[in-house]
Amino acid sequence: MNEPVRMTYREACRQAIRDALHADPRTFVLGEDVGRYGGCYAVTKGLLEEFGPERIVDTPLAENGFTGLAIGAALAGLRPLLEVMTCNFSLLALDQIMNNAATLPHMSGGQFAVPLVVRMATGGGRQLAAQHSHSLEGWYAHIPGLKVAVPGTVEDARHMLAAALADPNPVLIFEHVVLYNAEAELDSGVSAVDLQHAKLRRAGRDVTLVTYGNGLPKCLAAADVLAGDGIEAEVIDLRMLRPLDMPTIVGSVQRTRRVVIVDEGWKSGSISAEIAARLAEDALYELDAPIRRVCSREVPVPYAAQLEEAALPSIDGIVAAVRSIVPRRD
């Protein structure tokens, strides 16, 4: 396998899909403009020519319909790989995802599994304005029966799909629009990843930054800024919003005693709210400072660049949050 070692997040997603299609004849890709157009974010470019219309299926604009259809196909023996162009359009399919995909295994008394993978672009930062800039992965992490993956690195983009397709449960993979162009070296030693554990991306002793997706590069940048002040920030990449790997988060907080959660969702009822609540419930005595959260401002994401930037979590915002709970090193 002379796979190029250096690739973009987008190419990693495409290579993962190509591998999946070669690996299992039951797997097929369906979604809006995944075929001739090559995918709204060009992730499936070239796959129609390579695999044909039977396995790369352009769908009509009918999210609830084709999502329900994908669930039915999964019930009856296929392995559909559904692309809902962006999470903004998934709201139309929320009924099928929640009431059927997430619920049938339990409600049927364990008679059916729903081996379905749904990929969606998510997040803002491309000036697409409010209706195309939502960050809804946290909502889906509220639903028992689903698994929610938020690959923040090229490596996870490359390998999470295989794990998701092997998982008997419905797995939603959220790919942040800004990350598609990120580029990185792939470690040829890594051929698979799990869908369970968070990962320490940067060690530090003074504060724990908990984040995922497009929050990861922002937190790593913030950590570099803080290092200049002598503050060593530890960065935890959640990788999964459900299941939530609390032991890794708590383990880090027990060392640093301070935590900032960075989440592109709106604060109210977000995944960051859930993490903060669990820390207060299970690790209260480990904390030497209040929990801080850096989230999107509670506004519909505006089009104008400076407004959008002000609305989304920023590196400066993260640095400021850390400084508000870490005593200055003088």
Partner: protein
């Protein structure tokens, strides 16, 4: 003879009233026949009767009745015996209980509190302690999970708890000596000590230890000291009068055993930092904490803030070759357990003399709080505990 009762016509229906009877007393009714019209909060509904027979004593019209109340009797009838026992007319307006749900065991919704690596002090108590310049880490907590809460801080302030040690970082030997002198003098002055000793067979414990260590890497190797400390903590669970604090004339037992381990400093001097929740920790964790504590304290690296306040102290002078030790209690504690050297001694075992490794365990205790009788029982329990090393 069977009762025709007010049917449950909907998920949220609690009461209804008959607004029209479609049969007369004495009529013959057939299964599934509509016999009445019942008014509910959603409107009038035809009601079937599932009994065959002659219907009698029809309930009065326009009287609100709970689900299950008897509306009529049908004699010469079979049919499904209703879940609601008749008559229910007198039942309170509260919704009739459906078949009682099986007793639901309280499913613990909250995960277990993470085993913390330091004293549990609530954020509020920590802030108050800072204000009052009280070392919250050294207080024993009365809050949930044994946490130090504001009340503890304020009570300690009232009781004149010692201010936090002046020096940050390592220990000033002179200050150290003065502190020990003051504590020992106060102990002798205030605490009416009584002393007891007992020789404990150690064959089972040492054999178990030898076998256990053979199976472990050197980094997890156990020492007899950690067995002794754990045994003390376990034995203390039934002797609250030996594990706690005596402050201002009142004694407060501690819910758990924070065991102070007397460690002689390399540069002279003595400190007794605590191992927390000893009873709740396994030997591997305890050994790691003990090894770390001893290494840093003897090398002078222990910080004052780390000396949390123990609720009992164990001194182990075995290494120095002393056979038994009768120590002085550290106030405000009320007991001190001492261990001498583990050594082979002659021992009469059912009429024969054999060589047996033994250790002399001693108890110094505060007679204001406990009596010799209880002290002796504690040593006996300590012995029993040490005879089952695998349970430590």
């Amino acid at each position: 003879m069977a009762d025709f009762t007010m049917p449950a016509l909907g998920a949220d229906m609690e009461t209804g009233k008959v607004v029209e009877w479609l049969v007369r007393p004495g009529d013959r009714v057939k299964r599934g026949e509509v016999v009445a019209v019942v008014e509910t909060h959603k409107g009038a509904i035809d009601v079937e009767c599932f009994l065959d027979g002659v219907i009698e004593n029809l309930a009065p019209l326009d009287v609100d009745m709970p689900v299950g109340a008897v509306l009529a009797t049908v004699h010469g009838a079979g049919g499904v015996e209703t879940a609601a026992p008749a008559p229910r007319a007198s039942a309170p307006a509260a919704p009739p209980a459906a078949a009682p749900a099986p007793a639901v065991p309280p499913v613990p919704m909250v995960g277990p509190l993470v085993a913390t690596t330091r004293a549990r002090v609530s954020p509020a108590a920590r802030r108050r302690a800072a204000e009052l310049k009280v070392d919250a880490d050294r207080l024993s907590g009365s809050g949930v999970d044994g946490a130090v809460v504001i009340a503890d801080v304020e009570r300690a302030m009232a009781a004149g708890a010692p201010a936090p040690r002046a020096t940050r970082g390592g220990f000033d030997p002179v200050l150290m000596r003065q502190a020990i002198a003051a504590a020992m003098a106060r102990s002798k002055r205030e605490i009416p000590h009584y002393h007891l000793a007992e020789t404990l067979p150690m064959r089972r414990a040492l054999d178990w230890l030898r076998d256990t260590n053979e199976a472990r890497p050197v980094t997890e190797r156990l020492l007899p000291a950690v067995l002794l400390i754990k045994a003390v903590a376990l034995a203390l669970r039934d002797f609250p009068e030996l594990n706690g604090w005596f402050v201002d004339g009142t004694y407060r037992p501690s819910p758990t055993a924070h065991v102070g381990v007397a460690i002689s400093m390399r540069g002279g001097g003595l400190i007794a930092p605590a191992l927390h929740d000893v009873a709740a920790k396994n030997l591997t964790l305890l050994m790691r904490e003990l090894a770390d504590l001893v290494k840093r304290s003897r090398a002078g690296g222990l910080r004052s803030s780390e000396i949390a306040d123990p609720t009992v102290t164990v001194t182990n002078l075995g290494d120095q070759g002393v056979e038994s030790v009768f120590g002085v209690i550290y106030p405000p504690q009320v007991a001190l357990v001492g261990f001498g050297r583990i050594a082979e001694r002659p021992w009469v075992d059912d009429g024969r003399v054999i060589a047996l490794p033994v250790v002399t365990a001693s108890l110094s205790a505060d007679h204001r709080v406990s009596d010799g009788h209880r002290g002796a029982r504690f040593l006996a329990r300590l012995n029993e505990t040490l005879q089952q090393p695998e349970a430590l």
